[in-house]
């Protein structure tokens, strides 16, 4: 009886974190070597835009101006395509062995300057330094290194067939992994013998232009790679240019569809890597602590600015309460703040516009009746920040369960049976990725074969590798990046 009374009198024990003492700041101090102004990179040289216009790139962590970036207009895009077309003949005819050596060099030069690039990436985009340092930059170098080795082995890519380069490739990349997406796109295109005109995202152009310095240092022939910077209009000019043999786009499904419509009258080849609303499914026999780490990594990695983020948690009813309790405990110790601090887990939201999008969708979640929870945390006074957020009591029709939020917001749904989990996971027009947590091997294989997604992580999440093909089903796009399959998408097979 006494035991029972005490249980009533005292609240359930929970861990107390964070607010007992302050962490000392631990900023990364390496010099990012960012210039005050960046021109376009066309024909191996930095050139002023024809219009003479520049726009500001700011640091989203403190809203301070970082650099001025050239605004490319149609004439600049023309010049970039002309430079690429001019370089194509000798670049594609060069022995693969030699082409590969350029890519190996680029990988090495990037590794040499890895810390500098990581700091620049963090200042330009807002991601935590531990991610840009340990993931973005090394993985970008790995992509160049992996594809370098393919350049003299193209005869093995399509057995019984001949793989040849296509010509000039137009590429537009997003702001969530600026340097890494650039490497994903450039490396396979170049290894195959294509030339490239690439547009970085308007808020994150700096590391692309820093990489242009590396391309110069590597002695890459002029025109093989050209960077044109700007916003949506520049992107449309790159995608729509008649000089492109193929276009590759990573970004939202909405823009992807617009590009598909724009190119409808042509026979242009396309690779589309679009949005997602991945289900991360936790069964009652899952290793719960690991699953909680996987859930956190799945949705809070890079502030949730990840197309394959595990933004819908589907949790088995018998363990739902336990998983959510532990998840909340884990979220209480996530550190939100200065992206350059080595202890920061969630950095800055990439832009004011994206912060507004996240706020709008979160408000819709509250309005539609889901229950929002955020751990107590102090956000910096300046800059764009959003606390890690979860919604419980979410139904499939809620906007937070259907639309890509692209922020640190997790929607939690529950299920009772395997079939229900599959049904709910697949109930989306997207199909980029999915996660499964269970100790039962046969269930893993059943789930991985039934989930309509291009990448399935079992008992892990958000893993990437240059040798591993990545890309979507359904409205998450088509074509693959990485591995032999991704390389083939940059080839003409005959």
């Amino acid at each position: 009886m006494a035991e029972k009374r005490r249980a009533h009198a005292r609240p359930r024990p929970s861990l107390i974190f964070g607010d007992l003492w302050e962490f000392d700041p631990a900023p990364e101090t390496a010099d990012p070597k960012i210039k005050a102004r960046y021109d376009l990179f066309i024909g191996g040289r930095f050139v002023r835009p024809r219009s003479g216009r520049y726009f500001d790139s700011i640091n989203p962590a403190n809203e301070r101006k970082l650099a001025e970036i050239a605004l490319a207009g149609p004439a600049d895009v023309d010049a970039a395509y002309a430079a690429a077309a001019g370089a194509f003949r000798s670049w594609s005819a060069m022995p693969g062995r030699e082409r590969g050596k350029y890519l190996f060099r680029i990988a090495r030069l990037l590794q040499d300057r890895a810390r500098e690039f990581a700091v620049a990436e963090t200042m330009d985009g807002g991601k935590p330094i531990k991610e840009s340092r340990d993931f973005d930059v090394p993985m970008a170098a790995a992509h160049f290194f992996y594809h370098a080795g393919w350049a003299d082995k193209l005869a093995y890519v399509a057995p019984g067939r001949t793989a040849a380069p296509l010509g000039v490739i137009g590429q537009v990349i997003p702001w969530n992994f600026p340097l890494l997406m650039l490497a994903w796109k450039l490396a396979p295109a170049l290894a195959m013998g294509n030339c490239v005109v690439l547009k970085p995202a308007e808020t994150t152009s700096v590391t692309a232009l820093k990489l242009a310095e590396i391309l110069q240092d590597a002695g890459l022939p002029p025109g093989v790679v050209n960077f044109v910077t700007g916003a949506g209009e520049t992107g449309a000019a790159v995608m729509g240019h008649p000089g492109a043999a193929k276009v590759a786009f990573t970004g939202s499904t909405e823009v992807g569809k617009a590009i598909m419509r724009q190119l409808a009258g042509t026979d242009r080849r396309m690779t589309m890597e679009l949005g997602g609303k991945a289900a991360n499914i936790v069964f009652d026999d899952a290793p719960i602590d690991q699953a909680v780490e996987g859930i956190v990594n799945g949705i809070f990695f890079n502030q949730g600015h990840v197309c394959c983020a595990g933004s819908r948690l589907l949790v088995h009813e018998p363990v739902a309460e336990r998983v959510i309790a532990r998840l909340k405990n884990r979220m209480r110790v996530l550190r939100v703040g200065d992206p350059l601090d080595k202890n920061t887990d969630l950095g800055a939201i990439n832009s004011k516009g994206q912060l507004a999008t996240i706020r709008r969708l979160v408000a819709a979640g509250v309005r539609e009746g889901a229950t929002m929870w955020q751990p107590p945390c102090r956000l910096p006074d300046r800059g764009f920040y959003f606390p890690p957020t979860l919604f419980t009591g979410v139904t499939q029709s809620h906007r937070v369960a259907r639309e890509e939020i692209f922020g640190p917001v997790l929607s939690i749904l529950t299920f009772r049976t395997v079939d229900e989990a599959i049904e709910k996971a697949n109930n989306t027009p997207y199909g980029l990725s999915a996660g499964v947590w269970t100790e039962k091997g046969s269930r893993i294989l059943r789930m991985t074969s039934e989930l309509k997604a291009g990448v399935v992580w079992a008992n892990t999440f958000n893993r990437f590798d240059p040798s591993s093909p990545f890309g979507g089903y359904k409205e998450s796009g088509f074509g693959r990046e990485g591995g032999r399959q991704g390389l083939l998408d940059y080839a003409r097979i005959s």
């Binding site: 409808a264 009258g265 997604a453 008992n459 893993r463 591993s468 088509f478 693959r480």
Partner: protein, 291 residues
């Protein structure tokens, strides 16, 4: 017309389209008249509508999961069985091709190529996975592999000519990997495709895996383009049709493969892994290696 009255009036066949394993008329009851090469009346062919196309997609979607779950070996044998049916009834098929204007030699050659092509793809059904999938040497301690999966319902728009070899060469690689098909037959010479439907019905192919419509391209292309449950399009098309199909494809991020309307389907190069590759999705799976 000859005034001579035959001793016995032959019983003619009502041409019907093959949808969901059944032979049906168009829901609209519309038909168009088809004449043989010599100008004599041949029959009334169903002029299928958007609604027929939607019904066919429904049948194909229903048949899809079970067909995709069949083992590769089983699908290979079913395609081989289809080749057996074609070979056994080749005289009838050649006869129909000649009746609609093909030269005897071309018709027989086309027939041989068609049968051999079925066998070619029957053999692929349990081999393409070796070549399209992979085990990937990732740098972290994970087992990482890539497998193929069928896309679902694929819309096939066949060329006018060759009327039989064309549709067959396009349908075979698509179903070999476990997709199901809604195909639009040659508009000019639809009857051989109706015969093909009869052979499909008597092979071991489950109903709904292949559905063949007859009718007019210009009426059906817009629905092929925009139907959201059609996950991919394989079309012998050019110019405006291509544009319409691509515009429609954009609405649901549909995959598209085009061939020339005048492509040489007799060539060895008209078959192979490429057409299979374009109608599978690649799925990459990760699992940690550890205790």
């Amino acid at each position: 017309m000859s005034a001579r009255i035959p001793v016995r009036l032959p019983v003619t066949k009502t041409p019907k389209v093959y949808i969901g394993g059944a032979f049906v008329r168009s829901e609209s009851a519309r038909t168009f008249k088809v004449s043989a090469a010599d100008g004599t009346f041949f029959g009334n062919i169903p002029q299928c509508t958007r609604k027929d196309l939607r019904n066919a997609v429904e049948a194909a979607a229903k048949a899809g999961p079970a067909w995709a779950r069949r083992s590769h070996y089983n699908r290979a044998q079913i395609l081989y069985r289809l080749a057996e049916m074609l070979e056994a009834r080749s005289a009838e098929l050649v006869g129909s091709l000649v009746r609609f204007g093909a030269r005897e030699a071309d018709a027989s050659r086309g027939m041989s190529v068609a049968v051999d092509r079925m066998i070619h793809y029957a053999g692929w059904a349990d081999k393409y996975e070796h070549l399209l999938g992979s085990v990937n040497p990732v740098a972290s301690p994970h087992f990482n592999f890539t497998v193929t999966e069928p896309m679902g319902v694929v819309g096939v728009i066949a060329p006018d000519s060759p009327p039989l070899l064309g549709i067959l060469s396009m349908v075979a690689p698509v179903i070999a990997s476990g997709n199901t098909v809604v195909a639009l037959a040659s508009e000019k010479v639809p009857y051989p495709s109706i015969l093909l439907g009869e052979m499909l019905a008597t092979s071991d192919l489950p109903g709904g895996v292949v559905n063949i419509l007859t009718g007019f391209r210009r009426e059906l292309v817009p629905t092929f383009a925009t139907h959201a449950h059609i996950r991919a399009i394989y079309a012998a098309a050019d110019g405006d049709d291509r544009k319409a199909l691509r515009l429609g494809a954009a609405a649901s991020v549909k995959r598209v493969r085009f061939v020339e309307r005048a492509a040489d389907w007799f060539a060895e190069a008209a078959q192979g892994l490429d057409a299979i590759r374009d109608f599978v999705e690649l799925k990459t799976i990760w699992h940690p290696i550890g205790s």
